[in-house]
Chain length 199, copies 2
């Protein structure tokens, strides 16, 4: 898998070796040997699960509602509400324009919504899923001003999407408070929105 | 790895097969064959990365400050601030008392803080790291009222913890807003706090 510059070696980090132990279309497991900023003399050894770069979008309507999709998540045996999200399949996932296009594509395919003519796709940074074991990270966007698209949704049964609904901000906040929303990327995006006063 | 009841088969879910493809001390990769609520006739096939149950704690002092640790995260090649967190090593990670004890242990070992005599450990539910590929989930707690413990910290160099500091709520909020905090579990816990008005 092509590496995002976000997880490339930077000051103080030097990768000596990455030994592939398992690989399929979805994940690769490597044993890494790495010099780190605080361990410049003796490399650390670590198991790393590699995943493609991801995108997630908080779709906000002019009426102030947030759009969620309900999706079956096989690894967690859960059927739950989340913001629309997906992976960046293009090789050049390091290009901001490619990542933005992937975000708009996932928005449209999973919810049937698209940015309005006067809508705005606002970059809210990145979150790392679980940086103790995986390099997976997710670019977060607020799609401010979304409307129904002419094309509608486009996903196959394999994705396990079963519903899509608009929620008021009050409903959404209650679902976060009461633990009905428990996808870390959906929660991370909401955290960024709260801290920026977009709540 | 022992399964948490959170990821056991429940209504509509039936696991036919889990074929182990890779396993070490830290992760196990299986190929699962699973009937899901919306696919009762034809099982889905999915790659799943298994991890132990995790815990994360937001330590809040009487003065209203939040305690963070700075940690090297090898998979992400990052050296960043996070809430103290760790894994539940005990076999019986399904017992709430065991999970709470793990949360208090991680708090003390990583920060040197402990609950004050009149402190309270408040359960804020769970977040799933990235339920499209892993069963990893993290029990989130607010440790309301923490003080320096007599024992101090207890971690080894391998954990890559390099600093621990108290941050005012304003500083913390700014770090979330500006993308200085980007660990999904730290952000998820903050989202739950915001939604409950604990911000």
């Amino acid at each position: 898998m092509k590496k995002s510059p976000l997880i490339a070696d930077k000051e103080g980090w030097r990768t000596v070796r990455e030994e592939s132990k398992y690989k399929d279309k979805y994940v690769e497991v490597t044993l890494d040997e790495v010099f780190t900023p605080t361990r410049p003399d003796k490399p650390a050894h670590w198991t790393v699960v590699h995943r493609k770069t991801a995108v997630i979008v908080a779709p906000l309507t002019a009426a102030g509602e947030l759009i969620l999709v309900r999706q079956e998540r096989i690894p967690a045996r859960l059927h739950q509400w989340e913001f629309p999200a997906g992976q960046v399949d293009e090789e050049d996932s390091t290009d901001e324009a490619v990542v933005r296009a992937a975000a708009l594509r996932e928005l449209r395919e999973e919810t049937g919504y698209e940015l309005a003519a006067d809508g705005e796709l606002i970059n809210l940074g990145v979150s790392f899923s679980s940086p103790g074991f995986t390099d997976e990270h997710c670019h977060m966007y607020l799609a401010k001003g979304v409307v129904h698209s002419k094309e509608g949704t486009a996903y196959d049964d394999g994705e396990g999407i079963t519903d899509c609904r608009a929620f008021t901000r009050g409903e959404f906040r209650r679902m976060v408070a009461e633990g009905e929303l428990n996808d870390a990327h959906t929660l991370s995006l909401y955290a960024r929105m709260c801290a920026r006063g977009i709540e």
